[in-house]
């Protein structure tokens, strides 16, 4: 009997159109735009100037502070300008614009496709390598990986959890990666285990990806300590706390981190990136992106250079369909809608979904019928209908008391509400206000 997390959850239609399409290499575009803030934490500081020639894999922006990340050029060419562009955050961000000339990689990168499973670096060196290579969580949260690998004094980590759940509909980039780069991922997992000094790693995969489960289970026999676990399909299983609960039945207390229950969660994509960084010396400048949509002529999974405009990706997938009403970067439940197709692909872009017009309009909002379906759907057992009302009315103290800050913004509540109420919109608003309030209170 496959495991899952106990409370809440929804079952959106899977729509994994691209599950059987192998990863293809996306041609390098004629110019790329690389934002300096692609991760959680401080934006990186740009270290190149206009007119400089950069090589593929060369560092162009340096991490500022502990929670931050390096940024590397994904192409070779000339820095055209340093300007701002609207990125997936919805606002203008500073970015480096590079005009592509050829494709000259930094010499230290090992471009040999041979798989190296033997890990030579020590724990500290691995963490340094992750920092150096600009590795961030590739599941979508983009938290700098070196931070997650550094176990603070007094805390203990005894098991590593690898997230291969990919519970969002449409997305298949992790699925394909597990099928095609299984051995690399498992090596990456071993590397992560070494960095964290744990002897056990659990890979959780939802059982709508039986091929990936079988493939990795077979491979895992030669990697000691790594086991693969099938999980029942349910959204939001990919959320850290839910995955931990499902796999090892530990409940992360509210407001705490997985480390507080002795575990760390990394995505399979991150494991792959770590493998490439550590074994191949290759910084993070490309990632697998699912480009999909019901009316797209050639949806697929592509290996895309960071900074490639989404429009280029759409071209490769057969061009923008007439009926496109919304472009979502990420999954349909947690992704961000982008307001134009020039937005560049960044480290956190796991997919680009083109929704047809009729699916891109919200339904009309009607009154709450108090059906309680939002409570039923919330994996944290919050009361979304109440949180929304409190936020709407500005009763933030009360909202804090009702644990609005626990909300992980999974969107299950808005998804399920029969009255089409914008629950998460207001909860997010209230959450931001409450966090600000708490911060101000702590300052005093």
């Amino acid at each position: 009997m496959p495991k899952t997390f106990p409370i809440g959850g929804v079952h959106p239609p899977e729509n994994k159109i691209t599950a059987d399409t192998a990863i293809e290499l996306l041609p390098v575009p004629s110019s790329v735009v690389i934002p300096v803030s692609q991760h959680i934490g401080a934006p990186a500081a740009i270290i190149v100037n206009k007119g400089d020639y950069v090589k593929t894999g060369q560092k162009i922006a340096e991490s500022k502070g502990f929670v931050s990340s390096n940024i590397h050029s994904s192409v070779s060419g000339k820095v055209n300008k340093i300007d701002s562009i609207i990125d997936t955050s919805g606002y203008k961000q500073t970015a480096v614009f590079i005009d592509v000339e050829g494709d000259e990689w930094v010499e230290t990168i090992d471009r040999n496709s041979e798989i190296i499973t033997e890990v030579r670096l020590s724990g500290e060196e691995i963490i340094k390598k992750c920092l150096e290579s600009g590795i961030v969580g590739l599941g979508g949260a983009t938290f700098p990986s070196h931070v997650k690998l550094t176990v603070p004094a007094g805390k203990k980590c005894d098991v590593l959890i690898i997230n291969g759940v990919e519970c969002e509909p449409y997305l298949t980039s992790d699925h394909r990666l597990m099928l095609e780069k299984g051995e690399e991922i498992l090596t990456g997992v071993t590397i992560l285990m070494k960095a964290l000094k744990v002897g056990k790693a659990l890979i959780g995969i939802e059982n709508n990806k039986t091929d990936a489960i079988n493939h990795l289970t077979k491979l895992a026999t030669i990697f000691s300590g790594v086991t693969v676990h099938a999980l029942k399909v349910k959204y939001p299983q990919g959320a850290e706390k839910q995955l931990i609960k499902a796999l090892i039945n530990r409940e992360v207390p509210s407001g705490r981190l997985p480390l507080d229950v002795g575990t760390v969660v990394h995505n399979v994509g991150t494991a792959y990136a770590v493998y490439e960084a550590v074994q191949k010396n290759k910084p993070l400048f490309e990632r697998v992106v699912t480009i999909t949509g019901k009316s797209l002529s050639r949806p697929g999974n592509y290996l895309v250079r960071i900074g490639t405009p989404v429009s280029w990706l759409i071209e490769a997938a057969g061009g923008m369909p007439e009926d496109t009403g919304k472009i979502v970067s990420g999954g349909p439940l947690m992704g961000k809608a982008i307001n134009n197709a020039d937005v560049p692909v960044v480290k956190g872009t796991s997919g680009v979904i083109l929704l047809p017009k009729d699916e891109s309009e919200r339904m009309e909002i009607s009154r709450c019928i108090r059906c309680g379906k939002c409570i039923e759907a919330c994996a944290l057992n919050l009361e979304p209908y109440l949180l929304m009302t409190l936020s709407e009315k500005g009763l933030f103290e009360k909202a804090e008391h009702e644990r609005i800050t626990d909300c992980m913004e999974c969107g299950s509540c808005s998804y399920i509400c029969p009255a089409g109420r914008p629950l998460l919109d207001y909860i997010r608003l209230g959450k931001t206000a409450v966090m600000k309030m708490v911060r101000e209170r702590n300052m005093k």
Binding site: G90, Y91, N339, R362, L429
Partner: protein
């Protein structure tokens, strides 16, 4: 039968008596002394509870007034000089002269001038749209058009103009309580000093970007070219953050800057029409039905 009635009457009366005695003692015990003047002051205040004074409600303001040494910084914008004057008389203090203010919108980006580049489809709330993204246009400073300010106004002094998709302030009704200023997540409503005949000249733009990008986003943006600064003979205009600002204390309403502005983002309201030889491109912003 009559006995039952009697017993009922007696027992109920007893109950009432006992409860009233208990209530009386409790009321005595928990009695809080309050300055009786607070009630008197509160009676004078407009009872709008709008928060324009900076206090939660009229009663809190009344308490503050009674406690205050001087009235410095304490003002009820709704009641204005009359109300403050009578409060001052009652408390035997002096009310400082506070200029009456009026709210103005520092954005003129109607769809005609500021093309829509996307369509917002989330909950109809400026704060949510603001937290989410740049907005329906390419200007990350301008009005989002979802009427948070109109909802915040307790005096019905604002409405949305469906054509310009911008809020309109009805000067006669605006009491300058500042609720809209607080409600706007983009902070594009300003309280300005009221001038005679309700005349106004102000830079109706909040875009802090440099000229190029600002202009690409909106045709009536301030591009900080500085022409108005040069045109002004009274040093009333300064440029900061790529944005011109007209100081109401120095402005003499000569209207020279208005014609100078290449993007027509300086707006004049309630002036008599100019002599025909000067071509005015400025938008008619005052579509107030009450004027």
């Amino acid at each position: 039968m009559s006995l039952t009635v009697l017993i009922t009457i007696i027992s109920l009366s007893l109950l009432a008596l006992i409860s009233s005695v208990i209530l009386y003692f409790i009321a005595q015990k928990f009695k809080v002394f309050e300055d009786p003047r607070i009630d008197e002051v509160q009676a004078i205040l407009p009872a709008a509870n709008c928060g324009g004074c900076g206090f939660a409600g009229c009663r809190n303001f009344a308490e503050a007034l009674v406690k205050a040494e001087t009235f410095e910084g304490l003002n009820c914008p709704v009641g204005g000089a009359t109300v403050m004057g009578s409060v001052a008389k009652l408390l035997g203090k002096e009310a400082p002269v506070v200029d009456p203010m009026v709210a103005v919108l520092l954005c003129n980006g109607s769809p005609e001038f500021r093309p829509r580049t996307s369509k917002y489809n989330g909950a109809s709330d400026c704060r949510i749209s603001h937290n989410l993204y740049i907005g329906e246009t390419d200007c990350s400073y301008g009005c989002l058009g979802l009427a948070d300010c109109v909802r915040a106004c307790a005096f019905d002094a604002m409405y949305m103009n469906s054509e310009t998709e911008l809020p309109v302030i009805i000067d006669d009704k605006c009491v300058a309580c500042g609720a809209c200023v607080k409600a706007c997540p983009r902070k594009i409503i300003e309280l300005r000093k009221k001038a005679k005949k309700d005349r106004k000249i102000y830079v109706s733009c909040s875009n802090c970007e440099k000229g190029g990008p600002a202009r690409r986003a909106c045709k009536v943006t301030c591009i900080a070219c500085g022409k108005c600064v040069k045109a002004c003979e009274f040093d009333a205009i300064t440029i900061e953050n790529n944005l011109a600002y007209i100081d109401t204390n120095k402005c003499t309403f000569c209207r020279k800057c208005v014609t100078e502005c290449p993007t027509s983002c300086i707006i004049e309201v309630n002036f008599p029409p100019r002599k025909p030889r000067i071509e005015v491109q400025a938008e008619v912003v005052n579509d107030n039905p009450n004027v």
